[in-house]
């Protein structure tokens, strides 16, 4: 991606985000959020976060790899367990990285 395209994306993303933030503060009660959009928004965090994570864990060199040799998948599963038990962001980061490094050191991969 060229520098110009990147800044175009950054400026556009900034403008869109600002417009979303300002929307109702500026319009104050003159429009209402449609009920369907309101309920859909409840699912955005869980959906987006999962959609980002899954390819990063399952894909190795452009193909799905479900095996004991996929260190990132195993470390990711460990991180899910840590996040679920502790609800702590720092512990999830440290535990996930430590698991990945340990698996890389053991070298189960091809």
């Amino acid at each position: 991606m060229s520098t110009l395209t990147l800044w175009l994306a950054v400026a556009g993303a900034g403008a869109i985000t600002f417009a979303l933030r300002l929307s109702f503060i500026a319009l104050l009660g003159r429009i209402e959020i449609p009920p369907l959009l309101g309920s859909a928004l409840r699912f955005v965090p869980a959906a987006v976060f999962t959609a980002v994570v899954i390819p990063l864990l399952f894909y190795v060199n452009g193909a799905v790899e479900v095996s004991i040799g996929n260190e990132r998948l195993l470390a990711g599963i460990a991180a899910v367990l840590i996040a679920w038990r502790t609800r702590s962001v720092p512990l999830t980061l440290v535990g996930g990285m430590a698991t990945l490094w340990a698996l890389q050191a053991i070298g189960l991969g091809p």
Binding site: A46, A47, A83, W101
Partner: protein, 250 residues
């Protein structure tokens, strides 16, 4: 002067102080401190993964200043490094940040009578954390009218400064770390840490599951449409699950 006269004077002095703009600003900044500690790893992760994905320090900081929205910034990094088109990046940012309209609507009555400049400033600083920290005291009437903007500004500016400082620290960390450390793995980890608490009930669980399955099949879609397609599939899955579970209860 009688002792309780002094006490009354002191009380009045404190009352007066607590309604001054500076005091409200400081009260807001103080109230948000525990949240700032939780925000640090996200800013660090953004700075580090942005650098690891080939963004320059200025570009990473530029994103934090212009966009100032953690989840959207983190979601945009893999798209940008994969060379996705501007339209795909913007569409993703739009979907990820749509929730900000909910906060905007909820805070609007409290900022209704402010001049346009104030509205613009407060809107620019609107984040999940700023909303969560201010809406309860505002709705419960703990802050009176002229105080609200200053209290909110104290909360939101503290978040802004923390986010920029964490971004810069993350950039430094990312540039200093070697490739052998696999620091790019911080990106999925930070999203795992965010996704797990976002799954609160069966319907949000269904949203996550549908998004995950869709992401597995959509990852190789052309134009990097995989993320946005999977996210929308997840939202749809959540809506359908909610309908089904509601019907099951009747």
């Amino acid at each position: 002067m009688q002792p309780d006269g002094i006490a009354r004077d002191l009380e009045e002095a404190i009352d007066e102080k607590s309604s001054s703009p500076a005091a409200a600003f400081i009260a807001g900044a103080k109230a948000i401190v525990p949240v700032l500690l939780a925000l640090l790893p996200f800013g660090l992760a953004f700075g580090a993964t942005a650098t690891g994905s080939g963004l320059s320090a200025v570009e990473a900081l530029g994103m934090s200043v212009f966009v100032f929205a953690g989840a959207a910034q983190l979601a945009a990094v893999p798209l940008l490094s994969a060379g996705a088109s501007v339209a795909i990046v913007l569409l993703t940012v739009l979907v990820v940040n749509l929730r900000l309209t909910l906060y905007s609507a909820s805070l609007a009555p409290h900022f209704g009578r402010l001049p346009a400049g104030w509205k613009g400033l407060l809107a620019y600083l609107l984040t999940d954390q700023a909303y969560a920290a201010t809406i309860t005291p505002f709705d419960e009437g703990e802050r009176n009218e002229p105080d609200k903007r200053w209290y909110y500004l104290g909360v939101a500016l503290a978040i802004w400064v923390t986010w920029q400082a964490a971004t810069v620290s993350g950039v430094v960390l990312g540039a200093w770390a070697s490739e052998g450390w696999s620091l790019d793995f911080v990106l999925p980890l930070i999203f795992i840490a965010a996704a797990v608490p976002a799954i609160k009930d069966r319907a949000t669980g269904a949203a996550s599951l549908s998004a995950g399955i869709a992401a597995l099949f959509c990852a190789t879609l052309p134009l990097n449409l995989g993320l946005i397609t999977a996210a929308l599939a997840g939202v749809l899955g959540g809506l359908v699950a909610e309908l089904v579970f509601e019907r099951g209860q009747k």
